[in-house]
Amino acid sequence: MKIPKVAFFDFTSCEGCQVEIANFDQDLLKLLQVVEVVEFREIMKETCSEPLDIAFIEGSFSREKDRERLQKIRQRANLVVAYGSCAATGGINALKNHKPDYKYKVEVYGADATMPHLETQKALPISAAIPVDLAIPGCPVNRQEFVRLVSDLLHGKAPTIPNYPVCMECKKKENICRYELQDTCLGVVARAGCGALCPSNGIPCEACRGFVDNPNLDSLVELLIKTGMQPAYAMAKARMFTANLVEE
């Protein structure tokens, strides 16, 4: 197999997914024997403008002026992989999409709130600007899954991302259900693939990987309300990471 040339790019995000990949430790060195990394802002200063086998894109598409940059990446990349929830679904950034009065910008940036680079539209997945070959969810992206899916791509195998809820992974780990502990949890509708990381460590799932294809959201809201949550809060809870997937 020819060693593929890959590059990492970031848009509206915390760059945590890049950090996650950079944190591969010894395995990163092994990875570097099978791919040639030509651009990766978090770990190297070089950039490149040459054709790419795979472009990995982190972050959501939230500024119209980013469209051109995305199109240029698309033009020179054989495969485009949107990785991390911001790139895959809009992620937590999309929370702002439901706020017509986006006053938080002033609260967060103060006097700098009017700076031109902060001028944003709705936070959307990368696929809203350019076609993507694969979207890998996760906040942050799961390293093992990232390698598995990219391996599938390199071998010409259709990558498989679970379309079942986190409950499946909790059961496989024999976790006690959060609902049995009088807690709440979005695992019942959240897309699995993380290995039920949060519930396995004693906290509820927030659905950072988005929902399964056809989540039963009516049943979710009913279940959350049954645990004592106010309906409006239950609704807000249901769309923390999934604002683009839940209708008003």
Binding site: M1, D27, K30, L31, Q33, V34, V147, R148, S151, D152, L154, H155, K157, T160, N163, Y164, P165, C167, M168, C170, K171, K172, K173, E174, N175, I176, C177, Y179, E180, L181, C185, G187, V188, V189, V212, D213, N214, P215, N216, D218, S219, L220, E222, L223
Partner: protein
């Protein structure tokens, strides 16, 4: 039938010696629930458990099990059975294991399961506390007469009447101090095993055979739609079931991109993609609706496997009912309602 007696204070030394000899797993407390787990000391063993989150099938048919390792040089199998004593298995779970033994041997033998199964020694125990959603009495699973190597019946303060059922069970006797059973103790055992009824709060109003016949004709019953409207299709009911045995096979490359593993992992017919297949370049899901998936599980348990297993593929452990976040997986009210109509 060979019966012996083990005094209550002899249980800990017996389990201690077994632990020193071989891996011993048994019911242990996990917060407000119980799980089968490796015993480090006999004090961890909770023979008074109601039920465990997962059934003991996890030791033969693991949640994720490697099948082959492959590399450019070829491939090798991953069957590496480990001798293990499963201590304190309830009758309904023993019955379920017997069903899996049959299902994994039916047709082409599944050695990935059978090797683990054959390496295990099963020590049964009567049910002390009945799990809140259990209905094993209705499924004829409160008593078993085979499927175990030793079976302990707790007859109270005195200790346990021990039935030695197989050579594997016989082999454990060297690790404990067993005495002859008295007629009185044997009588107490009979009373406890066969004289108790009406312990389960959940009950089927009809015999499994009657249920099977009628449910088979209820394919278009409105109840499926009704029950499934709140279903999350999460598959929790499938994964905690002691008789569910479906799995998905996947290949995964190692970092070197040359070698890798093929593994299988538990799958569940309630999940949306379970029945999705590739057809002429596209995909087709032959159980697209939640209700058809909900119905399928009940049918599998109450009807479809009956001719193979000689009865329903359900032992009434009640795990599905308690694992369902939407509280709709309990088959008892569903089956009773169909029988009423």
């Amino acid at each position: 039938m060979r019966l012996l007696f083990l005094q209550k204070e002899e249980l800990e030394p017996f389990v201690s010696r077994l632990i020193a000899w071989q891996e011993v797993v048994g019911p242990k407390a996990k917060k407000n629930r119980f799980v089968f787990d490796k015993l480090e000391s006999p004090a961890e063993l909770r023979l008074d458990y109601d039920t465990t989150i997962l059934p003991p099938k996890k030791y033969f048919f693991q949640p994720q099990q490697d099948l082959i390792r492959f590399s450019p040089e070829g491939f090798t199998g991953c069957i590496e059975p480990k001798p293990r004593i499963i201590f304190g298995v309830h009758p309904y779970d023993i019955k379920a294991i017997s069903m899996l033994d049959y299902l994994f041997s039916d047709g082409k033998k599944d050695w990935n399961y059978l090797a683990n199964r054959q390496a295990a020694t099963i020590v049964g125990i009567n049910v002390h506390q009945v799990f809140k959603t259990a209905f094993f009495e209705s499924m004829g699973a409160s008593i078993v007469t085979k499927g175990y190597d030793l079976f302990l019946t707790d007859i109270g303060e005195e200790g346990f009447v021990v039935e030695v059922a197989t050579d594997k069970g016989e082999a454990l006797l060297a690790y404990g101090h067993f005495t002859q059973v008295t007629p009185d103790q044997a009588q107490k055992r009979r009373k406890i095993l066969y004289g108790q009824s009406d312990r389960c709060s959940q009950k089927l109003f009809n015999l499994p055979e009657e249920v099977s016949e009628k449910v088979a004709l209820s394919f278009y019953h409105p109840i499926w739609e009704e029950m499934a409207s709140r279903c999350f299709s999460c598959g929790a009911c499938n994964l905690v079931c002691p008789t569910c045995y479906c799995f998905d096979v996947q290949d995964m490359w190692n970092l070197d991109q040359e070698s890798g593993i093929r593994f299988r992992t538990w799958d569940g017919c309630l999940t949306e993609d379970f029945a999705k297949v590739t057809v002429q370049g596209g995909t087709e899901n032959f159980r697209q609706d939640r209700s058809s998936r909900y119905r399928h599980r009940i049918m599998r348990k109450a009807v479809y496997l009956n001719s193979k297993l000689g009865g329903p593929a359900c032992v009434g452990c009640g795990r599905c009912a308690s694992a369902c976040p939407a509280d709709l997986a309990n088959p008892v009210p569903v089956l009773n309602k169909i029988m009423e109509g």
